[in-house]
């Protein structure tokens, strides 16, 4: 019996030793995975530029310099921009390591700028790199440089922000809620539109504006693509109209209309309407094997934000007239974008896709001839805008 007890104690001791050994051994695995990367050995990429330089792929990156504790008061630039030209984009990206002793973490790049050169020649040279590379974040926002190279855009400054890469995301999101002109496009959406028949992609453009001796970056138009090439661009008004036809709900924006009151001089009769939300529904009207038109119905809501004249305006009668004015304004914006897209022969609204979804057999018949059909398609636009709030004044300001 004593022997058995000792044997049991001996066994438990061995078990304990084994468990302790396993715990100690498992400590080796806490050092990280096979692909471990020390933060000190990396450089955060804020933005990525793909372009062509003398017909060679060029890749620029904005690397953010994280100052250490001792450098906190330093006035040195907080980022560096590096460009490499090589035979492929991947090679250009990896050639950056010839001059930077850290590994750029591409997945941090929240903005991707496509150079005007590349966009106008052939996007096919860069799409595979952008789609296949697991380090390029597909939720990054895409921009196109206008009248400048991508690298020049990266070198330009943005008010109040230390580097353009991070500022671009804020820039486009804030303008969307405040002004509602440009539609942000993620890399995934861009690639999806490139891969889908019956829809052509669009991308917001960036241009450089002089402010004294500084080059400042600003959003300036929307680039329009046809298949793999940029064929033109939409101006502010057309971009705003394009945003309204987006089948996804849009929120935020500003609409300026003339007052319907007749006793006010034209220069003073402006009213600002804040758009709170708008939803478009696009249905192709098909009769037999013929597309009659595209029926576009818009349901929108907004608030009375400002009037630039002193006369009383907010009344039950005027509200209906105002709603009608806003309807007309939205319609005009939409027509402007349709006219431009048809002029450029680029189906940025995805009407071809709508035809396919409604009548796939008809689409199979007309898909080849779609470039000839699209420019002549008529749009039947119905807008139903409803005014909701008037903020802190429920009538116009009265002077006594």
């Amino acid at each position: 019996m004593q022997l058995d007890k000792n044997h049991l104690i001996q066994m438990n001791k061995w078990k304990l030793v084994c468990i302790l050994f396993l715990i100690l051994f498992s400590l080796f695995f806490t050092t990280g995975c096979w692909n471990q990367l020390e933060v000190n050995d990396t450089a955060e990429a804020a933005a990525l530029v793909v372009d062509l330089e003398e017909n060679q792929p060029s890749l620029s990156v904005q690397l953010v310099h994280r100052s250490s504790a001792g450098e906190s008061g330093s006035s040195s630039p907080q980022h560096i921009n590096i460009t490499q030209v090589a035979s492929t984009f991947t090679e250009a990206a990896r050639r950056i390591t010839l001059s930077v002793p850290r590994l750029p973490t591409w997945s941090h790049a929240g903005s991707i700028i496509i150079g005007d050169n590349l966009a106008s020649q052939d996007l096919g040279r860069a799409t595979d790199f952008l789609a296949r590379n697991r380090n390029i974040r597909k939720s990054a926002l895409v921009f196109i440089s206008k009248d400048a190279t991508g690298k020049e855009c990266l070198d330009a400054e943005v008010y109040l922000e230390s580097h353009a890469g991070n500022a671009l995301k804020k820039l486009i999101s804030i303008q969307e809620t405040q002004l509602g002109i440009y539609t942000p496009v993620t890399l995934d959406q861009f690639l999806q539109n490139l891969a889908t028949p019956g829809i052509d992609p669009t991308v917001p453009q960036l241009s450089i504006q002089k402010d004294g001796d500084k080059n400042m970056l600003r959003l300036d138009g929307t680039a329009v693509f046809k298949e793999r090439k940029k064929v033109g661009s939409l101006n502010e008004m057309e971009s705003q109209g394009y945003r309204f036809i987006n089948p996804k709900m849009i929120t935020g924006g500003l609409i300026i209309i003339f007052s319907p009151l007749e006793n006010i001089p034209d220069s003073d009769k402006l009213i600002s309407i804040e758009l709170t939300r708008s939803q478009a529904k696009i249905t192709p009207q098909i009769e037999g094997n013929r597309i009659i038109n595209m029926k576009i119905s818009i349901e929108a809501e907004g608030n009375f934000y400002e009037q630039t004249f002193a006369e009383e305006f907010i009344s039950f009668d005027n509200i209906n007239a105002l709603n009608e004015m806003v309807n007309e304004k939205i319609k005009a914006l939409i027509i402007a974008s349709i006219v431009k897209a048809q002029l450029l022969n680029s189906d940025i609204f995805g009407w071809g896709q709508s035809v396919y979804r409604t009548n796939p057999s008809l689409w199979n018949e007309i898909e080849k001839d779609w470039p000839e059909i699209f420019p002549s398609i008529q749009a039947d636009i119905t807008v139903n805008f409803q005014l909701r709030r008037s903020y802190l004044l429920d009538e116009s300001f009265k002077f006594r």
Binding site: C33, W34, N35, A131, R134, K138, S139, D188, L191, Q192, A195, T196, P197, P247, K248, S354, Y356, R357, T358, N359, P360, S361
Partner: protein, 371 residues
Amino acid sequence: MIRITNFQIYCLLLLTTTPLAYLVTPMMVTHIVDNNSWLAILTAIIPGALLIYVYIYILKNSIRPFPALLEDCLGSIIGKIIGFFYIFSFLFGTAVTLRYFVALIGSSTVPDTPLSIFIGAMLLVSYYALKTGMANIARVGELLIIFGLPIAFFIILISLAQKPDFNSLLPFKSIDFESFTTGIFYSFYILGDLMAILILAYFSTNREKIPSTLFHVLYTYIILISLTAAVSVIQFGSNYNNLITFPTFKMVRTILISDFIQNIDVVFIAIWIIGMFAAISVKWFLACYTIQQLFGLRDYRFLAAPSSVAIGIISLMMGRNIIEVQIILHNIMPIIYSIFYIFIPLIIFFILLFKPNPGADIATGIKNPVS
């Protein structure tokens, strides 16, 4: 003899069929029927139910479990030869599951880690599970389903909230009959894994309820996989979806909640790895159990060590690159599944239909699904 509950059998069967299908089936079916992939998967419930009926009928009419029932139906020599081939099919199935798991991890998560490390680590864990016995794998499976299944559905639900375009599911009628049938087959053939019931049923504590357990597995599989297919099409559209190697994984990667919760693929990978462990372990168990039964051995557990070498080598050798792995998955696996898990059970079904075993009801305790 070990005993497992019907819920544990439900968990084991679901874990055998779903982890690989969750990643592979929506992609394969979307390649064939584009935006109607979810419809094809949903329709696969019909052949799935018929296959289950075949398995139930075999169970009801056989005295001995698989692979011994092969000898009862086909004669001793042919039964043994076919049983011998089944060993390879189970080992191959285990190796393919392991290889595809490694392909995902290697392509999108930790590409620098050698394949042998993943394969070795996974085999080590499954080997240990197998050594401790089927009951332990069943208990782990139970926990996995309780925690993992709601998370799998939750992930789909969150993905659905990421700027969905429900119009991507249109048009409904654009597919030709041939593509749709192929799509149904690709959604359905993985259900051949349910053949494990021909072994697992004999360990059940409540054999009468086995048919309803099988149907619950079928419903869960169909709902989960068709939802996954639908959401990936809603998210990316069928054309872009067809370009992506792992659409389900990409769906998880694009989840962004309130602009600050993102890259939650690590949660998905963690759960999915455990799911794959269970899938590998169950298929491996089937291989070991078939060897034991075929050669009249006393236990199956000691077979885990030698068979692990075979599985490891097969999975390392089978696909030198992702294209070869895809070819195996798209072309070779459906053939193997069709022959071993659908066609041979069908032959046994017809044999039993015309030459039933007297007293089989009493032996198996499973009632005829028709009666």
